[in-house]
């Protein structure tokens, strides 16, 4: 019983995390964790700056198909 609860809870946690990554909710967290940011080579963007910059990049090449 406890094992089932544990498996279910792990599945739900993973699903939730996957959903956040899929829709872009976790993008800023990934950015903060990335080696490129942690190296300190470039100034770290605020959540707002990152959001706008990310959207400008994403919608400058084909990202939605027919």
């Amino acid at each position: 019983m406890r094992k089932t609860a544990k498996t279910t809870s792990r599945f739900l946690r993973r699903f939730w995390r996957g959903l956040r990554e899929w829709c872009g909710d976790a993008a800023y967290e990934s950015y903060l964790r990335s080696p490129g940011t942690q190296s300190g080579a470039r100034p770290v963007l605020s959540a707002e700056e990152f959001y706008v910059e990310q959207l400008n990049r994403r919608y400058s090449h084909p990202n939605r198909c027919c």
Partner: protein, 695 residues
């Protein structure tokens, strides 16, 4: 023992698939149950994935998990982000799944359910999935380079330029034709027009929330947005019931076309966070939900497929679009089986986020299988309604003789019994003023979906809500493609213009933004307007033109893939990309030739122009319509020229590639492969991309 068990299971899947396929292909008795389609498709996909994609992965591409992917080498948290393969599958699928696999099969249903279904499944397994998979692999090995860059480096400079022009051409025609689908879905429909119009303020509200209130909190904003959208779907009914508001939102085709053109310009020129991105978030969630609901609905309701396997229109006299089953079935299905546009996604964001080379099989091949399944579901939804209703919705008035009794008599005369009252009742049940002559695929698909949904939840009472939910779902994500495409087209125009005059190429320069947005919108807007005023219904000329350009882009991608495989020394397996490429060249060249030169005015652009000119010369056109007819003649000649240019582009590219292949095969020139150098991965074998610390 375990091995024997696995073999037995896979043998069982293969036999089940073959049996279901046989039932679909050879059963000529009672109407078929849709379950057979689902079983045949799923079993074929499983076998194709297990065997063919594994063969391509192991033998043809020799995927190497010891090699670091671009996301590992350049991990910057922006473009290059190591991503869990399930999450990236979702990203990739959301990017490739557009209106094409819904609309194409719905239109191709005029040939009957069989040819379209066969091509959707076989085309995806042997052509579409292979293209997506191989191009993804090629791009991964080149640090995520685009198709144009790969064509330039691996085929020739000119090849790269042709690929860039082909992308701009397909984008222009694509945006026009999907705009036309929206126009035909919203025409004379206050409910649907109100619902879709309201998604704009909802998106603006979300945009402001995500920018200033809770930056980047996409999930919570999307949940709010989806709730608002569902509310306006229901509220549309009140608008339709109010005489004053209903008049405000009842727009003609031309008015809707101009509204869409203005919207496209605004979405391209406004900051992306304000309108485009929040609308995309809404669209992604609703798209995922609607596709899942449709699949569940088909499995739950198990509708009967009422369309015959083959109709009388395979000979080329179809009312929805003219042309014989070969090549027009393949051209019409397009994205559900193979889409050139996917090669742009496979050489865009996805290769920069992939964790391991082996994931390319699941993401590249697997996501396209799922897209094909969406196409099969659309085919089922379109074929589950009585054929008479299908033809009444999708035929232009010039073919069926208007609406009402005359049109019902024409359609019944084709052997598909229909009474005018049936259409009146159906329109009333779904809350529309009329369902006659709504070519474009969206309304008929919405009727099919609504019937399946309402049989699951709500019954006939909710038929109108489900119908407008389906229309909103289709129109919402069509407009998402339209605004995202216009913006990308704007960048392409700026890129090309910047070569002539440097300031124009600066993406942050406001006059450049406005002018390039106006140019790209004018390009597709012209074709959209032309489609709306076309006496043959617009779809008849624009959808085949879109199909041809899309399949030509796929041929470009496969030329690049074949050249790369040849340079890699995989000559033995070259047929994997060469055969689909040859097939695409044959169908696109045949279709292009017929669309330009066929003597039937409904097929050949020049023949139609000639027929219209003859009508003017014979005094059959009233004086007040002469100027309009001259414009129609010009449009037909323009369409013929565009088709000719597209065909010429692929021929030039093939000649370039043949010269390259000849030098490689004759060993005159050593093959120069532009792959990034091998770097060994430093990630552990069980690293899943989610292991950034929080599991």
């Amino acid at each position: 023992m375990k091995r024997i068990f696995v073999i037995v299971v896979w043998l069982g899947v293969a036999l089940l698939g073959a049996g279901a396929f046989g039932k679909i292909a050879f059963d000529r008795g009672e109407p078929l149950n849709a379950t057979w389609f689902v079983v045949a498709a799923v079993c074929c996909y499983l076998v194709a994935y297990r065997l063919y994609s594994a063969f391509v992965a192991a033998k043809v591409l020799a995927l190497d998990d010891s090699r670091a992917t671009p996301s590992e080498r350049h991990d910057d948290g922006r473009d290059f982000v190591p991503t869990n393969k399930w999450v990236l599958f979702g990203h990739h699928f959301a990017a490739i799944a557009g209106p094409g696999p819904l609309v194409g099969p719905t239109l191709a249903a005029q040939f009957g359910y069989l040819p379209g279904t066969l091509w959707l499944i076989a085309g995806a397994a042997f052509a579409g999935c292979v293209q997506d998979f191989v191009i993804l692999f090629c791009s991964i090995r080149r640090d995520g380079k685009s198709l144009g860059q790969m064509a330039r480096e691996e085929v020739s400079e000119r090849g790269g330029f042709i690929a860039q022009l082909a992308v701009l051409a397909i984008m222009t025609i694509l945006l026009a034709v999907i705009g036309l689908v929206v126009v035909n879905a919203l025409k004379s429909s206050p409910w649907a027009t109100f619902t879709l119009a309201m998604t704009i303020p909802i998106a603006l509200l979300l945009g402001l929330y995500l920018r200033f209130v809770r930056p980047g909190r996409v999930l919570e904003a999307s949940v709010m947005g989806v709730a608002f959208v569902l509310f306006v779907v229901v509220a549309g009914q009140w608008v339709a019931d109010s005489p004053w508001w209903s008049r405000v939102f009842t727009l003609s085709g031309v008015a809707l076309a101009f509204a869409i053109i203005v919207y496209g310009f605004a979405a391209s020129a406004l900051p992306v966070w304000l309108l485009l991105a929040p609308r995309d978030y809404l669209s992604a969630f609703i798209k995922a939900g609607a596709i899942f609901t449709l699949a569940a609905g088909i499995l739950f309701v198990r509708p009967q497929v009422l369309m015959p396997p083959l109709t009388r229109f395979i000979a080329g006299t179809g009312p929805v679009f003219a042309g014989k089953i070969f090549p027009f079935c393949f051209i019409t299905i397009a994205c559900g089986a193979i889409s050139g546009f996917h090669s742009l996604i496979s050489s865009g964001t996805t290769p920069k986020m992939i964790l391991r080379e082996s994931h390319a099989r699941f993401i590249g091949y697997g996501a396209m299988l799922l897209e094909s399944f969406v196409g099969v579901m659309a085919m089922v939804a379109a074929c589950a309604m009585p054929p008479g209703i299908y033809f009444a919705i999708n035929s232009p008035p010039s073919i069926v003789g208007g609406a009402g009794d005359a049109a019902a008599a024409t359609i019944s005369g084709w052997g598909y019994p229909l009474q005018a009252q049936t259409m009146t009742d159906l329109a009333h049940k779904v809350g529309e003023l009329t369902l006659w002559n709504r070519a474009g695929g969206a309304p008929s698909l919405a009727v099919g979906m609504a019937q399946i949904f309402s049989s699951t939840i709500g019954g006939e009472r909710l038929l109108s809500i489900w119908y407008h939910f389906a229309i909103m779902f289709e129109a919402l994500f069509i407009l998402t493609v339209l605004d995202a495409g216009t913006r990308v087209g704007r960048f392409m125009v700026q890129d090309l213009g910047g070569r002539v005059w440097k300031p124009f190429g600066r993406t942050g320069w406001m006059p450049g933004i406005l002018l390039s947005s106006a140019i790209i919108v004018a390009l597709w807007g012209y074709f959209l307007y032309q489609g709306v005023v076309d006496r043959l219904g617009g779809i008849n000329s624009l959808w085949p033109l879109f199909g041809i350009s899309n399949q030509l882009l796929a041929a470009v991608a496969l030329v690049v893939a074949t050249t790369i495989l040849m340079k890699m020394g995989r000559l033995r397996w070259i047929w994997v990309t060469l055969l689909p490429m040859a097939w695409l060249v044959v169908i696109t060249m045949t279709a292009s030739y017929q669309k330009i030169f066929d003597a039937n005015p409904r097929i050949g652009f020049l023949a139609y122009a000639h027929a219209l000119a003859a009508q003017i010369a014979n005094g059959k056109i009233p004086v007040e319509k002469i100027a309009e007819t001259h414009r129609l003649i010009f449009n037909q000649r323009l369409d013929a020229a565009v088709t000719g240019v597209l065909a010429a582009m692929i021929l030039v590219l093939i000649v370039e590639a043949l010269a390259q292949w000849y030098s490689i095969l004759s060993r005159r020139k050593g093959p120069v492969l532009h792959e990034s150098p091998y770097v060994a991965t430093r990630w552990a074998a069980n690293f899943s991309g989610a292991a950034h610390g929080d599991d």
